[in-house]
Protein backbone atom coordinates (compact mmCIF):
# COMPACT_ATOMS: atom_id res chain seq x y z
CA UNK A 1 0.00 0.00 0.00
CA UNK A 2 2.71 2.47 0.98
CA UNK A 3 4.70 1.50 -2.08
CA UNK A 4 1.77 2.42 -4.29
CA UNK A 5 1.29 5.66 -2.38
CA UNK A 6 4.97 6.51 -2.77
CA UNK A 7 4.76 5.81 -6.47
CA UNK A 8 1.65 7.97 -6.73
CA UNK A 9 3.35 10.83 -4.90
CA UNK A 10 6.44 10.61 -7.11
CA UNK A 11 4.18 10.58 -10.15
CA UNK A 12 2.24 13.56 -8.84
CA UNK A 13 5.37 15.62 -8.26
CA UNK A 14 6.67 14.94 -11.75
CA UNK A 15 3.23 15.48 -13.32
CA UNK A 16 2.80 18.82 -11.57
CA UNK A 17 6.12 20.15 -12.85
CA UNK A 18 5.49 18.73 -16.32
CA UNK A 19 2.00 20.24 -16.59
CA UNK A 20 3.20 23.50 -15.06
CA UNK A 21 5.91 24.04 -17.64
CA UNK A 22 3.93 22.64 -20.59
CA UNK A 23 0.92 24.84 -19.87
CA UNK A 24 3.09 27.85 -19.18
CA UNK A 25 4.86 27.25 -22.48
CA UNK A 26 1.59 26.89 -24.38
CA UNK A 27 0.13 29.93 -22.68
CA UNK A 28 3.19 31.94 -23.65
CA UNK A 29 2.23 31.80 -27.34
CA UNK A 30 -0.89 33.69 -26.30
CA UNK A 31 0.93 35.99 -23.87
CA UNK A 32 3.44 36.85 -26.56
CA UNK A 33 0.69 38.02 -28.92
CA UNK A 34 -1.46 39.77 -26.39
CA UNK A 35 1.34 41.50 -24.54
CA UNK A 36 2.98 42.72 -27.73
CA UNK A 37 -0.43 43.91 -28.91
CA UNK A 38 -1.00 45.88 -25.73
CA UNK A 39 2.52 47.32 -25.89
CA UNK A 40 1.95 48.42 -29.49
CA UNK A 41 -1.59 49.68 -28.91
CA UNK A 42 -3.25 46.91 -30.91
CA UNK A 43 -5.98 44.44 -30.00
CA UNK A 44 -4.06 41.27 -30.80
CA UNK A 45 -5.24 37.73 -31.37
CA UNK A 46 -9.01 37.51 -30.83
CA UNK A 47 -10.39 35.58 -33.80
CA UNK A 48 -10.34 31.95 -32.74
CA UNK A 49 -13.70 31.07 -31.27
CA UNK A 50 -15.51 27.97 -30.07
CA UNK A 51 -19.31 28.34 -30.35
CA UNK A 52 -18.89 32.09 -30.42
CA UNK A 53 -16.77 32.24 -27.26
CA UNK A 54 -13.52 34.04 -27.87
CA UNK A 55 -12.13 34.29 -24.34
CA UNK A 56 -9.66 37.09 -25.19
CA UNK A 57 -8.11 34.94 -27.88
CA UNK A 58 -7.17 32.16 -25.45
CA UNK A 59 -8.19 29.55 -28.05
CA UNK A 60 -5.40 30.65 -30.37
CA UNK A 61 -2.79 28.30 -28.89
CA UNK A 62 -5.25 25.44 -29.56
CA UNK A 63 -5.86 26.59 -33.11
CA UNK A 64 -2.10 26.87 -33.59
CA UNK A 65 -1.52 23.34 -32.41
CA UNK A 66 -4.19 21.94 -34.73
CA UNK A 67 -2.80 23.91 -37.63
CA UNK A 68 0.78 22.79 -36.98
CA UNK A 69 -0.17 19.14 -36.56
CA UNK A 70 -2.12 18.98 -39.82
CA UNK A 71 0.51 20.67 -41.99
CA UNK A 72 2.80 18.85 -44.36
CA UNK A 73 5.89 17.47 -42.66
CA UNK A 74 8.57 18.41 -45.18
CA UNK A 75 12.14 17.19 -45.28
CA UNK A 76 14.73 18.55 -47.72
CA UNK A 77 16.33 15.99 -50.04
CA UNK A 78 19.85 16.77 -48.80
CA UNK A 79 18.94 16.49 -45.16
CA UNK A 80 20.56 14.06 -42.72
CA UNK A 81 17.37 12.08 -42.22
CA UNK A 82 17.88 10.80 -38.70
CA UNK A 83 19.35 13.96 -37.15
CA UNK A 84 16.78 16.11 -38.93
CA UNK A 85 13.97 14.14 -37.26
CA UNK A 86 15.71 13.99 -33.91
CA UNK A 87 16.65 17.66 -33.53
CA UNK A 88 13.26 19.15 -32.50
CA UNK A 89 12.77 16.39 -29.92
CA UNK A 90 16.18 17.06 -28.38
CA UNK A 91 15.33 20.75 -28.17
CA UNK A 92 12.02 20.20 -26.41
CA UNK A 93 13.31 17.39 -24.18
CA UNK A 94 16.01 19.40 -22.46
CA UNK A 95 13.68 22.37 -22.12
CA UNK A 96 11.19 20.13 -20.32
CA UNK A 97 13.55 18.27 -17.99
CA UNK A 98 15.48 21.36 -16.90
CA UNK A 99 12.65 22.43 -14.60
CA UNK A 100 12.75 19.19 -12.60
CA UNK A 101 15.14 20.41 -9.89
CA UNK A 102 13.40 23.74 -9.32
CA UNK A 103 11.39 23.66 -6.07
CA UNK A 104 7.86 25.04 -6.39
CA UNK A 105 7.08 24.86 -2.67
CA UNK A 106 8.37 23.86 0.74
CA UNK A 107 7.77 20.42 2.24
CA UNK A 108 4.14 19.34 2.18
CA UNK A 109 3.05 17.28 5.21
CA UNK A 110 0.15 15.08 4.26
CA UNK A 111 -1.13 12.02 6.16
CA UNK A 112 2.11 11.60 8.08
CA UNK A 113 4.30 11.97 5.01
CA UNK A 114 6.80 14.66 4.15
CA UNK A 115 6.59 15.43 0.45
CA UNK A 116 9.28 17.74 -0.96
CA UNK A 117 7.59 19.98 -3.53
CA UNK A 118 9.97 19.56 -6.43
CA UNK A 119 10.16 16.83 -9.05
CA UNK A 120 13.59 15.59 -7.95
CA UNK A 121 15.55 16.53 -4.86
CA UNK A 122 19.15 17.06 -5.94
CA UNK A 123 22.07 18.31 -3.87
CA UNK A 124 23.46 19.90 -7.00
CA UNK A 125 20.19 21.31 -8.35
CA UNK A 126 21.76 24.51 -9.70
CA UNK A 127 24.28 22.50 -11.68
CA UNK A 128 21.58 20.13 -12.96
CA UNK A 129 19.43 22.93 -14.40
CA UNK A 130 22.54 24.55 -15.81
CA UNK A 131 23.65 21.27 -17.42
CA UNK A 132 20.26 20.68 -19.04
CA UNK A 133 20.21 24.23 -20.38
CA UNK A 134 23.65 23.77 -21.89
CA UNK A 135 22.64 20.47 -23.51
CA UNK A 136 19.55 22.03 -25.09
CA UNK A 137 21.83 23.70 -27.62
CA UNK A 138 22.44 20.36 -29.33
CA UNK A 139 18.91 20.32 -30.74
CA UNK A 140 19.52 23.66 -32.42
CA UNK A 141 22.96 22.70 -33.70
CA UNK A 142 21.71 19.37 -35.02
CA UNK A 143 18.84 21.11 -36.79
CA UNK A 144 21.20 23.61 -38.35
CA UNK A 145 23.58 20.97 -39.56
CA UNK A 146 21.13 18.25 -40.58
CA UNK A 147 19.01 20.53 -42.76
CA UNK A 148 21.66 20.56 -45.47
CA UNK A 149 21.03 24.24 -46.00
CA UNK A 150 23.60 27.03 -45.75
CA UNK A 151 21.25 29.37 -43.93
CA UNK A 152 20.45 26.69 -41.39
CA UNK A 153 24.16 25.98 -40.83
CA UNK A 154 24.80 29.67 -40.29
CA UNK A 155 22.01 29.66 -37.73
CA UNK A 156 23.42 26.59 -36.01
CA UNK A 157 26.88 28.13 -35.81
CA UNK A 158 25.54 31.37 -34.41
CA UNK A 159 23.48 29.45 -31.88
CA UNK A 160 26.55 27.53 -30.70
CA UNK A 161 28.67 30.66 -30.38
CA UNK A 162 25.91 32.57 -28.62
CA UNK A 163 25.17 29.71 -26.26
CA UNK A 164 28.77 29.32 -25.17
CA UNK A 165 29.18 33.01 -24.41
CA UNK A 166 25.84 33.12 -22.60
CA UNK A 167 26.58 29.97 -20.65
CA UNK A 168 29.89 31.21 -19.31
CA UNK A 169 28.16 34.37 -18.09
CA UNK A 170 25.28 32.39 -16.53
CA UNK A 171 27.69 30.10 -14.72
CA UNK A 172 29.81 32.97 -13.44
CA UNK A 173 26.87 35.17 -12.44
CA UNK A 174 25.22 32.55 -10.22
CA UNK A 175 28.50 31.98 -8.35
CA UNK A 176 27.72 34.94 -6.11
CA UNK A 177 24.38 33.43 -5.07
CA UNK A 178 25.99 30.05 -4.43
CA UNK A 179 28.72 31.68 -2.33
CA UNK A 180 26.21 33.71 -0.31
CA UNK A 181 23.78 30.92 0.52
CA UNK A 182 26.54 28.31 0.66
CA UNK A 183 24.79 25.54 -1.27
CA UNK A 184 24.24 24.10 -4.72
CA UNK A 185 20.82 22.80 -3.72
CA UNK A 186 18.05 25.02 -5.04
CA UNK A 187 15.79 24.16 -2.07
CA UNK A 188 18.51 25.22 0.41
CA UNK A 189 19.03 28.46 -1.51
CA UNK A 190 15.31 29.22 -1.37
CA UNK A 191 15.18 28.43 2.36
CA UNK A 192 18.14 30.77 2.87
CA UNK A 193 16.11 33.55 1.25
CA UNK A 194 13.54 33.23 4.04
CA UNK A 195 15.94 34.96 6.47
CA UNK A 196 15.47 38.62 7.26
CA UNK A 197 17.96 41.43 6.73
CA UNK A 198 17.95 44.08 9.50
CA UNK A 199 15.06 42.21 11.06
CA UNK A 200 12.45 43.04 8.44
CA UNK A 201 13.71 42.85 4.83
CA UNK A 202 13.46 39.38 3.25
CA UNK A 203 16.99 38.31 2.23
CA UNK A 204 16.09 37.60 -1.39
CA UNK A 205 18.88 37.08 -3.86
CA UNK A 206 18.05 40.25 -5.77
CA UNK A 207 18.83 42.31 -2.64
CA UNK A 208 22.09 40.62 -1.70
CA UNK A 209 23.19 40.05 -5.32
CA UNK A 210 21.81 42.96 -7.40
CA UNK A 211 24.65 42.85 -9.94
CA UNK A 212 24.42 39.07 -10.16
CA UNK A 213 20.67 39.39 -10.82
CA UNK A 214 21.14 41.81 -13.74
CA UNK A 215 23.93 39.71 -15.24
CA UNK A 216 22.01 36.47 -14.85
CA UNK A 217 18.81 37.80 -16.41
CA UNK A 218 20.74 39.25 -19.35
CA UNK A 219 22.65 36.05 -19.95
CA UNK A 220 19.48 34.04 -19.37
CA UNK A 221 17.61 35.96 -22.05
CA UNK A 222 20.56 35.31 -24.36
CA UNK A 223 20.26 31.58 -23.58
CA UNK A 224 16.62 31.59 -24.67
CA UNK A 225 17.75 32.79 -28.13
CA UNK A 226 14.93 35.31 -28.30
CA UNK A 227 15.12 38.97 -29.30
CA UNK A 228 17.39 40.86 -28.62
CA UNK A 229 19.63 37.77 -28.79
CA UNK A 230 17.94 35.99 -31.70
CA UNK A 231 20.98 36.01 -33.99
CA UNK A 232 20.63 32.23 -34.56
CA UNK A 233 17.15 32.88 -35.93
CA UNK A 234 17.32 36.41 -37.38
CA UNK A 235 14.13 35.96 -39.36
CA UNK A 236 14.82 39.11 -41.36
CA UNK A 237 18.18 37.85 -42.67
CA UNK A 238 18.82 34.10 -42.47
CA UNK A 239 15.65 32.68 -40.82
CA UNK A 240 18.05 30.46 -39.02
CA UNK A 241 18.46 26.90 -37.89
CA UNK A 242 14.81 25.88 -38.43
CA UNK A 243 14.47 27.35 -41.92
CA UNK A 244 13.83 23.91 -43.45
CA UNK A 245 11.33 22.72 -40.86
CA UNK A 246 7.60 22.75 -41.28
CA UNK A 247 4.50 21.76 -39.36
CA UNK A 248 4.76 20.69 -35.75
CA UNK A 249 8.52 20.13 -35.95
CA UNK A 250 8.86 23.85 -36.63
CA UNK A 251 6.37 24.42 -33.83
CA UNK A 252 8.54 22.38 -31.46
CA UNK A 253 11.47 24.74 -31.93
CA UNK A 254 9.22 27.68 -31.12
CA UNK A 255 7.93 25.68 -28.16
CA UNK A 256 11.49 24.96 -26.96
CA UNK A 257 12.18 28.70 -26.91
CA UNK A 258 9.11 29.25 -24.75
CA UNK A 259 9.99 26.36 -22.47
CA UNK A 260 13.44 27.80 -21.97
CA UNK A 261 11.89 31.16 -21.19
CA UNK A 262 9.87 29.45 -18.44
CA UNK A 263 12.97 27.65 -17.16
CA UNK A 264 15.03 30.85 -17.04
CA UNK A 265 12.15 32.65 -15.32
CA UNK A 266 11.86 29.77 -12.84
CA UNK A 267 15.58 29.74 -12.16
CA UNK A 268 15.66 33.53 -11.73
CA UNK A 269 12.73 33.28 -9.30
CA UNK A 270 14.45 30.53 -7.36
CA UNK A 271 17.87 32.15 -7.16
CA UNK A 272 16.98 35.83 -6.87
CA UNK A 273 13.28 36.36 -6.08
CA UNK A 274 12.95 34.09 -3.08
CA UNK A 275 11.45 31.09 -4.90
CA UNK A 276 8.27 30.04 -3.08
CA UNK A 277 8.96 32.36 -0.13
CA UNK A 278 6.20 34.78 0.83
CA UNK A 279 7.62 37.66 2.91
CA UNK A 280 7.20 36.94 6.66
CA UNK A 281 5.30 33.71 6.02
CA UNK A 282 6.65 30.80 8.04
CA UNK A 283 5.55 27.20 8.34
CA UNK A 284 3.04 28.07 11.06
CA UNK A 285 1.72 31.31 9.55
CA UNK A 286 2.61 34.97 9.17
CA UNK A 287 4.96 36.62 11.69
CA UNK A 288 5.08 40.29 10.78
CA UNK A 289 8.09 42.42 11.75
CA UNK A 290 5.82 44.83 13.67
CA UNK A 291 4.91 42.07 16.05
CA UNK A 292 1.55 40.91 14.73
CA UNK A 293 1.09 37.19 14.12
CA UNK A 294 -1.41 35.28 12.05
CA UNK A 295 -1.53 31.54 12.40
CA UNK A 296 -2.52 29.64 9.24
CA UNK A 297 -3.26 25.96 8.59
CA UNK A 298 -0.46 24.01 6.94
CA UNK A 299 -2.27 23.39 3.66
CA UNK A 300 -3.04 27.08 3.22
CA UNK A 301 0.61 27.97 3.84
CA UNK A 302 1.71 25.47 1.16
CA UNK A 303 -0.91 26.80 -1.25
CA UNK A 304 0.24 30.37 -0.64
CA UNK A 305 3.84 29.33 -1.31
CA UNK A 306 3.08 27.48 -4.53
CA UNK A 307 0.93 30.43 -5.58
CA UNK A 308 3.72 32.87 -4.78
CA UNK A 309 6.13 30.84 -6.88
CA UNK A 310 3.72 30.83 -9.83
CA UNK A 311 3.10 34.58 -9.54
CA UNK A 312 6.82 35.32 -9.40
CA UNK A 313 7.57 33.13 -12.42
CA UNK A 314 4.76 34.84 -14.35
CA UNK A 315 6.11 38.25 -13.36
CA UNK A 316 9.59 37.28 -14.52
CA UNK A 317 8.17 36.05 -17.84
CA UNK A 318 6.32 39.36 -18.17
CA UNK A 319 9.60 41.24 -17.72
CA UNK A 320 11.35 39.01 -20.29
CA UNK A 321 8.49 39.64 -22.74
CA UNK A 322 8.81 43.38 -22.14
CA UNK A 323 12.49 43.16 -23.06
CA UNK A 324 11.71 41.03 -26.10
CA UNK A 325 9.20 43.51 -27.50
CA UNK A 326 11.23 46.61 -26.61
CA UNK A 327 14.75 46.05 -27.88
CA UNK A 328 15.90 45.48 -31.47
CA UNK A 329 18.20 42.56 -32.28
CA UNK A 330 21.88 42.75 -31.45
CA UNK A 331 24.17 42.18 -34.38
CA UNK A 332 26.07 38.88 -34.11
CA UNK A 333 29.37 40.55 -33.14
CA UNK A 334 27.60 42.85 -30.69
CA UNK A 335 26.03 39.90 -28.91
CA UNK A 336 29.43 38.18 -28.71
CA UNK A 337 31.09 41.35 -27.44
CA UNK A 338 28.41 41.83 -24.80
CA UNK A 339 28.88 38.27 -23.60
CA UNK A 340 32.67 38.14 -23.47
CA UNK A 341 33.62 41.75 -22.73
CA UNK A 342 30.59 42.80 -20.73
CA UNK A 343 28.79 40.03 -18.89
CA UNK A 344 31.73 37.76 -18.17
CA UNK A 345 34.18 40.29 -16.64
CA UNK A 346 31.37 41.84 -14.59
CA UNK A 347 30.40 38.36 -13.34
CA UNK A 348 33.98 37.78 -12.24
CA UNK A 349 33.92 41.18 -10.53
CA UNK A 350 30.71 40.11 -8.80
CA UNK A 351 32.42 36.95 -7.52
CA UNK A 352 35.36 38.97 -6.16
CA UNK A 353 33.05 41.53 -4.52
CA UNK A 354 30.89 38.81 -2.97
CA UNK A 355 34.00 37.08 -1.65
CA UNK A 356 35.31 40.32 -0.16
CA UNK A 357 31.96 41.07 1.52
CA UNK A 358 31.72 37.55 2.88
CA UNK A 359 35.24 37.87 4.32
CA UNK A 360 34.84 41.35 5.80
CA UNK A 361 31.22 41.41 6.93
CA UNK A 362 30.40 37.73 7.15
CA UNK A 363 27.65 35.89 5.36
CA UNK A 364 24.04 35.33 6.37
CA UNK A 365 23.75 34.62 10.07
Amino acid sequence: MTAIADLGIAFGRVAFVMLFILNMGGLLTWVERKQSAIMQDRIGANRASIFGFRLLGLFHPLADAIKMLTKEDFMPARADRFLFQLAPFVSVFFGLVAFAAIPFGDTLRLAGREIPLQAVTLDVGVLYVFAMLSLSIYGVMMAGWASGSNFAILGGQRAAALMISAEIAIGASIMGVIMWYGSLSLQTIVRGQGDLLLGWIPAWGILVQPLGFLLFVTAGIAATRRIPFDTPESESEIIGYFVEYSGMKFGMFAMADFLETVVIAGLTTTLFLGGWQVPWLYAEGFRFPWGAELALPHLLVVLLQVGAFTVKVSLMIFVMMLVRWTLPRFRYDQAMRLGWLGLFPLSVLNIVLTGAVLLLVGGPA
Binding site: L122, D123, V124, L127, A131, A160, I164
Partner: protein
Amino acid sequence: MATAAFVLIAAVAVGSALGLVVRRNPIHGALFLVVNLGSIAALFLTLGAEFLAAAQVIVYAGAIMVLFVFAIMVLIPGREETGPDPQRPTRLLALPVGAVLLVLLVALVAGGGAPRAAGGPPAGGVEAVGRLLFTDYLFPFELTSVLLLAAMVGVLLLARRRA
Protein backbone atom coordinates in the same frame (compact mmCIF):
# COMPACT_ATOMS: atom_id res chain seq x y z
CA MET B 1 18.31 -2.98 -9.95
CA ALA B 2 21.73 -1.34 -9.68
CA THR B 3 23.29 -4.06 -11.82
CA ALA B 4 20.60 -3.69 -14.46
CA ALA B 5 21.16 0.07 -14.55
CA PHE B 6 24.89 -0.46 -14.83
CA VAL B 7 24.58 -2.95 -17.68
CA LEU B 8 22.19 -0.69 -19.55
CA ILE B 9 24.31 2.46 -19.14
CA ALA B 10 27.52 0.59 -19.86
CA ALA B 11 25.99 -0.78 -23.07
CA VAL B 12 25.09 2.75 -24.16
CA ALA B 13 28.58 3.96 -23.25
CA VAL B 14 30.36 1.20 -25.17
CA GLY B 15 27.96 1.45 -28.11
CA SER B 16 28.39 5.20 -28.44
CA ALA B 17 32.16 4.87 -28.12
CA LEU B 18 32.10 2.35 -30.97
CA GLY B 19 29.88 4.69 -32.96
CA LEU B 20 32.40 7.47 -32.46
CA VAL B 21 35.20 5.35 -33.89
CA VAL B 22 33.24 3.72 -36.71
CA ARG B 23 31.28 6.66 -38.14
CA ARG B 24 33.02 8.52 -40.95
CA ASN B 25 30.77 11.55 -40.62
CA PRO B 26 32.51 13.92 -38.16
CA ILE B 27 29.26 15.37 -36.77
CA HIS B 28 27.88 11.90 -36.10
CA GLY B 29 31.12 10.99 -34.38
CA ALA B 30 31.01 14.11 -32.23
CA LEU B 31 27.39 13.48 -31.27
CA PHE B 32 28.24 9.88 -30.36
CA LEU B 33 30.96 11.25 -28.09
CA VAL B 34 28.35 13.49 -26.44
CA VAL B 35 26.18 10.43 -25.78
CA ASN B 36 29.22 8.62 -24.43
CA LEU B 37 30.11 11.47 -22.05
CA GLY B 38 26.50 11.61 -20.92
CA SER B 39 26.41 7.89 -20.15
CA ILE B 40 29.63 8.21 -18.13
CA ALA B 41 27.86 10.96 -16.16
CA ALA B 42 24.97 8.54 -15.62
CA LEU B 43 27.46 5.99 -14.26
CA PHE B 44 28.71 8.62 -11.80
CA LEU B 45 25.09 9.17 -10.76
CA THR B 46 24.54 5.48 -10.04
CA LEU B 47 27.60 5.68 -7.76
CA GLY B 48 26.02 8.57 -5.86
CA ALA B 49 28.49 11.14 -7.17
CA GLU B 50 25.98 13.81 -8.19
CA PHE B 51 28.51 16.60 -8.37
CA LEU B 52 30.88 14.67 -10.61
CA ALA B 53 27.98 13.76 -12.90
CA ALA B 54 26.85 17.37 -13.20
CA ALA B 55 30.40 18.60 -13.74
CA GLN B 56 30.95 15.93 -16.40
CA VAL B 57 27.86 17.02 -18.32
CA ILE B 58 28.48 20.77 -17.97
CA VAL B 59 32.19 20.75 -18.76
CA TYR B 60 32.45 18.01 -21.37
CA ALA B 61 29.07 17.52 -23.00
CA GLY B 62 27.83 21.08 -22.50
CA ALA B 63 30.92 23.17 -23.19
CA ILE B 64 33.83 21.33 -24.81
CA MET B 65 31.75 19.23 -27.18
CA VAL B 66 29.65 22.24 -28.22
CA LEU B 67 32.93 23.86 -29.27
CA PHE B 68 33.94 20.67 -31.10
CA VAL B 69 30.69 20.51 -33.03
CA PHE B 70 30.93 24.23 -33.71
CA ALA B 71 34.44 23.83 -35.13
CA ILE B 72 33.34 20.89 -37.29
CA MET B 73 30.39 22.87 -38.62
CA VAL B 74 32.63 25.81 -39.50
CA LEU B 75 35.45 23.80 -41.06
CA ILE B 76 33.62 20.96 -42.80
CA PRO B 77 30.31 22.17 -44.10
CA GLY B 78 29.69 19.45 -46.66
CA ARG B 79 29.96 15.69 -46.95
CA GLU B 80 33.27 15.57 -48.83
CA GLU B 81 35.03 14.27 -45.74
CA THR B 82 33.94 10.68 -46.39
CA GLY B 83 36.70 10.05 -48.96
CA PRO B 84 39.85 7.93 -48.41
CA ASP B 85 42.03 8.99 -45.50
CA PRO B 86 45.14 10.85 -46.77
CA GLN B 87 47.09 10.10 -43.60
CA ARG B 88 46.35 6.39 -43.46
CA PRO B 89 49.96 5.14 -42.92
CA THR B 90 50.55 7.28 -39.84
CA ARG B 91 47.16 6.30 -38.43
CA LEU B 92 48.38 2.69 -38.33
CA LEU B 93 50.45 3.75 -35.32
CA ALA B 94 47.18 3.71 -33.43
CA LEU B 95 47.23 -0.08 -33.47
CA PRO B 96 50.29 -0.68 -31.24
CA VAL B 97 49.36 2.23 -28.95
CA GLY B 98 45.84 0.88 -28.61
CA ALA B 99 47.18 -2.59 -27.91
CA VAL B 100 49.39 -1.29 -25.08
CA LEU B 101 46.40 0.58 -23.60
CA LEU B 102 44.28 -2.55 -23.83
CA VAL B 103 46.91 -4.66 -22.06
CA LEU B 104 47.20 -2.06 -19.30
CA LEU B 105 43.43 -1.91 -18.84
CA VAL B 106 43.07 -5.69 -18.75
CA ALA B 107 45.89 -5.93 -16.22
CA LEU B 108 44.23 -3.26 -14.08
CA VAL B 109 40.81 -4.91 -14.14
CA ALA B 110 42.30 -8.37 -13.53
CA GLY B 111 44.25 -6.93 -10.60
CA GLY B 112 41.01 -5.86 -8.90
CA GLY B 113 40.77 -2.29 -10.13
CA ALA B 114 42.34 0.88 -8.81
CA PRO B 115 43.09 1.01 -5.07
CA ARG B 116 40.05 2.28 -3.17
CA ALA B 117 40.19 5.03 -0.60
CA ALA B 118 40.17 3.45 2.84
CA GLY B 119 36.74 3.61 4.46
CA GLY B 120 33.91 6.08 3.96
CA PRO B 121 31.69 6.60 0.94
CA PRO B 122 33.26 7.50 -2.41
CA ALA B 123 34.32 11.13 -2.42
CA GLY B 124 31.99 12.46 -5.11
CA GLY B 125 30.13 15.20 -3.24
CA VAL B 126 30.77 18.90 -3.67
CA GLU B 127 32.38 19.27 -0.26
CA ALA B 128 34.65 16.25 -0.62
CA VAL B 129 35.84 17.26 -4.08
CA GLY B 130 36.32 20.89 -3.01
CA ARG B 131 38.27 19.92 0.08
CA LEU B 132 40.56 17.62 -1.89
CA LEU B 133 41.12 20.24 -4.60
CA PHE B 134 42.19 22.87 -2.10
CA THR B 135 44.28 20.63 0.15
CA ASP B 136 45.90 17.45 -1.21
CA TYR B 137 45.61 18.37 -4.88
CA LEU B 138 46.19 22.11 -4.64
CA PHE B 139 49.48 22.02 -6.50
CA PRO B 140 48.29 19.90 -9.48
CA PHE B 141 45.11 22.00 -9.56
CA GLU B 142 47.02 25.27 -9.84
CA LEU B 143 49.48 23.69 -12.25
CA THR B 144 46.59 22.71 -14.53
CA SER B 145 45.30 26.27 -14.59
CA VAL B 146 48.75 27.55 -15.57
CA LEU B 147 48.90 24.91 -18.30
CA LEU B 148 45.48 25.93 -19.63
CA LEU B 149 46.49 29.59 -19.55
CA ALA B 150 49.66 28.79 -21.50
CA ALA B 151 47.64 26.86 -24.08
CA MET B 152 45.22 29.76 -24.42
CA VAL B 153 47.99 32.31 -24.93
CA GLY B 154 49.60 29.97 -27.45
CA VAL B 155 46.37 29.66 -29.42
CA LEU B 156 45.94 33.44 -29.47
CA LEU B 157 49.50 33.85 -30.73
CA LEU B 158 49.00 31.31 -33.54
CA ALA B 159 45.63 32.74 -34.53
CA ARG B 160 46.98 36.28 -34.62
CA ARG B 161 49.95 35.32 -36.78
CA ARG B 162 47.73 33.73 -39.41
CA ALA B 163 45.30 36.62 -39.57
